[in-house]
Amino acid sequence: MHAAARRTLFWNANWFGVSRRVAHIAGFVALLVALMSGVALVPGCGDAPARGGPLETSVVIGETGRFPGQFAYPRAIDAHGSSLVIVDKSARVQRIDPGTGVFLGGWAMPESDLGKPTGITVGPHPFDAGVEAVYVADTHYHRVMVYPLPLDALEKTSRRVAETPPEPILTLGGYGTEDGSFVYVTDAAPLPSADPARPVSRIYVSEYGGNDRVSVFERVGDGFEFAFAFGTPGHGDGTPGSREGVMFHRPQSLALDGDRGELLVTDASNHRVGRFTLDGELIGWIGGVDAVGVEPLELRYPYGIAVLRDGTALVSEFGGNCVRRIDIETGTSVGVYGEAGRLEGQLASPWGIAVVDRTVYVLDSGNDRVQGFRSPAPAADLAEAGRNGEGWAGP
């Protein structure tokens, strides 16, 4: 066929009712637009959203691995004197020197096939005054296990993580949705008491998994019994001054504010922090879904919290890849630290936060390490509030 005739036939033919000329031109234009958009978007897609800028890191502890002193996606952290206690996704509880990263002792949880712990708290021994214990939220086994510190026996084998844990001094919970039982435990917070006969008067336990709430166990005789619970699964706010209508969606961490006599709860999937009285009555919420996208206060999956004595709290944002300092009274953001990334000073999915001396230690979970930076609080207010019974009037 003559070339000119072929050209005429080609361009005049219809293709699904659209002229081929138009279809091909439109296709080329669409292809060009798509390519250019992709090229324009590609660099931007890799950029982290602006947060607080890199941390001014003073120390980096740990790296990926399963040897002592290494971590496999660490999930919870707390301070024990001048050391750190960390639990990770390999179900190891490790005590670490924060200055050097040296492994000081630890053990593997007794069971972990169904899942690993996601919460750890160091607090007063439930029965012995003047001694500390570690409260492990054994999430997928629906229980809180309390172990003695400071791991004297295990520190003799400080070259390795002990395969068997010490004998627990207390076990709370068991699977269920009724009072005193748990589905997936996330954290436990012991309430110190000034009475040496009762070093711990209450234990608060948070859980999720369709039974999202905070349960309270009180010291009765030689043990602890369920007293009350507050919260139901959902996204509602509840009524200030009451436990009624309070809802949680994965309450991940608990923190006791000794100066105010309050309990703070990181309501992670509702993107907020709740303030409650020690009897579980709502005081107010900080953040929330309506604050998302509205600076300066935007909490994206707040997981860890540490209360400072200057009336502020440090919150590690799992989704925001940063640490946010909030004013507890006013509910405003007074500082953001860190940004997303893998370099020193950057964070990836931080799960927890703890304060030792003048240093804040952030559990940089996605990078399998802990990063320390200088506490933003004034020197006189460095310590975490409410530790070891200091300043507590008790319930």
Binding site: S37, V42, S90, G174, G209, G210, H235, H249, R342
Partner: protein
Amino acid sequence: MGESRGGTARAAWADGLTAAGLVATALLVLGVPGVGIVRSLAMLGLGAALDAAGTVVGPLVVSALTAAGIGVLAAAIGVPIGWVIASAGRIRALAVVLLMPLVLPQTIAFAGWGVLRSPETMLGNAIVGAAQDGARWLPIVVSRGLAVLGLAFWAAPLAGVVQAVAFASTPRALIEQGRLSSPSVLRRWALLMRVHAGAIGLSAAVVGMLMLGSAVPLHLSNLPTHATVIWLELTETSLAERGRVWAAASPAVLLAGVLAVAMVASMSHAVRGSVARGDQVAGGLGVRASGGAVGLACAAWCCAFLVPVLLLAVTVRDWAVVFRFPRFHADAVWSSLATSGVVGVLVLLVGVACGRAFGSPRRFARVAAWLVFGALLATALTPGVLIGAAMNTAYGSLGGSSGGSFGGSLGSVSVILSMLARFGVLGAFAGLWMAWREDASLRADGALHVRDTVRAWWVFVLSRRLLLPVGAAIASACLTLHEIEASVMVRPPGPDNLARLMLDALHFARMDELAAVILLVAAAAAPIAAAGMWAVLASSRK
């Protein structure tokens, strides 16, 4: 004559550029991650590498058994689906819907049916109660069984497609004879299954090959397959020590390579023979699928997609969470859409280039096409977590960890390359099919000059078969939208994507958000996937 010579010269240049582009693509998807892996292995040493490789015999056996089980189940479920795809009449349009789950997340069936064993349900309480009474194995077995069954339902349409190619060649006389000789439906089906036993076995093998990879439900249920074990090792090993992990992962990589080479050799031989004989692809069954076959196919689709989505929807406590999800996670949504768009365009280009090269009269172009087809097939058969981890290793080696816009751009390129490695084979296959389906008259030597000019190829080949690579591009984009395995390994921290949101929702039981992600992906992908598949099917019937 002068115009023909000029056109031929231009066509030669076009073939040369196409071949160069295809070779560059093969080098990118194989070479970039390969360099990082080779460096890690070199640092490890041969003895240590062999030791590490020897430690995964157990997981390899588990992988083989699991893949075989899923393959057999998928093949069985896929029989009625294949019959509907191959049938005549308007019922064939149902094939578009039946194939849809293939481009949607693998985890839909696992997550949806898993709702029935949630802690607050009767079944969930019974399982945990039994575990606490001593049957600690029960929750684990239930979880793993659910993962296997969910994947079988997801892969059943793929098995159906493989079977449909054979079903379409069933002689009408055989079907009529079956109806006359036996009133029993089951006996007629048994006869047809015997006739097509090879195709059904092949479909099980194809699905089994895919399931040797790192399917997310197997990871979530902690089934100790080779890919799951390697996934865990990768997350718990620093970059400096990954040589040992790569050595342990080598059986999967080697198997993917061997399978790719074998399939390329087999397919090239088959295509050459078919072209030489002037074969025409079967146009489909001469009869309509029965109501029973259609019913079974629809039931399989419901189990794979509809019922799980409804179960997830029922679990939603607050629909406000679902509706505000796109706003709340706008950065993740846009990031995923942008990545999908770029990957779709790249796959389209691969498909068009392969279509040109496979149909070229020049040997070097055809060799380049087979080379990239083999490379993309090898990377597609390699577990996704290995692809992502390899790209991540290369990303780190090339200075991606330096941060800033360079690091960010490199991270995004790593993600896109990973997706191209995983799904680019769809474009290559579309190009092969496009070239294979050229009208026989155009292959005759007398018409060589018509095909040999770029314009003529565009008019007589590409414009008639463009919907094939377009359909492959759309399918690739849909799969990229929710691909988890490579994404979680390669994507740097920062803006989320839908895949990471979905994995977090699965891990942390954020059921409202999981429902939101799945509904969003299904709502976005379903009409696009349906349009794309319809286009592919319509084009392949011409």
